[in-house]
Symmetry: C2
DNA sequence: TTGTCTTGTGAATAATTCTTCACAGCGCAG
DNA sequence: CTGCGCTGTGAAGAATTATTCACAAGACAA
């Protein structure tokens, strides 16, 4: 389950607890883990949105954890905590997917700035969580499919070959390919007699499309 | 210049004039030509939306004219007029791009039905004449580009590497590819200091996109 | 001057999308 | 029963789009 929690992964108990305390004082929900292994285990239940991650840890280090996290939880923003003497490691962590880093020792404000920056990035990454939008917009980028939606919007219902003929396309299998796309994206459906019609989602889409067309047509 | 005229191409003067008379009685604007060659010449000035075309004509016949018309004027709807004994030619004409056919001798109503059918198809083909829409929707089908539009909508202006970092993308050339697409489709522009911002068109697009997102998100 | 960062460029490569092909099964009319 | 039209299927091939790579030029600081 994806949560809004911030996960702190650091074997240094003092530092870990300090970070937890600061973040909780600012009303962030915090999960604390002493090892990378414990963190991976905890993520099976609750997936944080931000991970604060120390580089030097026994067992699996922070550097090794980053690719695992990015692979399994691509939405997580990762802030690497690094000692001043290992800044080159921080650069390398950035290259392998960390989103930001904090050099020890850091001030409370630096921590809060980094967290807020990560939250800001998360805000724009929310677009990634809209499979409906992705599919709808991918469907709409094709002209034949837009024409089909328009036809069905006007006519209400229509059968396969009628649509094909109205589109003026000779190769019916081409139309079938596009109808299948629209159907699998739930923009159109068929009744018992196989006539195609718009779904309610399809209707919303074509409405917005026509509104958009009016707005941007010179 | 694209017009709303119907062009009649037939070497048979009686038939040609009959068709012209019928169509003009129904308030259609008609251009009459006796040969394919004359028709091609006339189209340099006024491009009709529908062509009624006889198959058997001296010089270039109807069958040879179809591919030329479809290539140079893809939006034109072509109705092939064919004698009853050459229906197989009509089928072949359909295969090479004619949109409909009329078998001689035809009644006035048959002619009108065919013309209205072609006008109906034209109505749905109007979508083909919206390059702005095509490009905008193609741009929107890509997630990175949508994220860029959202970022600029919120922030107003932003420079290249700031956008790249906010997107959390390491490879700046990838972002450059997408920025170029948005720029060439006039959704974004740059000021003198190279900061990117939305065009007015881009603003309209992102508004509609957010409206659409609200409507179809479950 | 060198090194680094910013902001690109164009081409090769990879991935995705679209079109075409060859076929299939069903229903209906002759 | 055969032939034709309708409505598909899946895979191969073609086209388009996206990503990566190698590089470039300019600006700025040390």
């Amino acid at each position: 389950m994806i949560t809004e929690a911030i996960m702190v992964i650091d074997d240094d108990q003092d530092l870990r607890e300090t970070i937890v305390e600061i973040l909780e004082n600012y009303d962030f929900s915090v999960i604390a883990c002493a090892t990378a292994e414990a963190a991976l285990q905890a993520m099976k239940d609750d997936i944080p949105c931000i991970v604060l991650l120390d580089n030097m840890m026994p067992g699996m280090g922070g550097m090794a954890l980053i690719p695992l996290l990015k692979k399994d939880y691509p939405g997580i923003k990762i802030i690497m905590i690094t000692a001043f003497s290992t800044v080159d490691n921080a650069v390398e962590a950035m290259k392998s997917g960390a989103d930001d880093y904090l050099a020890k020792p850091f001030k409370r404000d630096e921590l809060l700035v980094a967290v807020r920056r990560a939250l800001e990035k998360l805000k724009f990454s929310q677009q990634e969580s809209e499979p409906c939008m992705d599919e709808a917009l991918a469907s709409l980028s094709n002209q034949i499919r837009r024409q089909i939606l328009t036809i069905l919007s006007t006519k209400g219902e229509m059968r396969f070959m009628d649509i094909t003929r109205m589109l003026g396309i000779q190769d019916h299998t081409k139309v079938n390919f596009h109808l299948k796309n629209l159907k699998s994206n739930s923009l159109i459906t068929q009744n018992r007699e196989k006539a195609y019609r718009l779904t309610s989602q399809g209707k919303k889409i074509i409405d917005c499309l026509q509104l958009l067309s009016k707005r941007i047509t010179p």
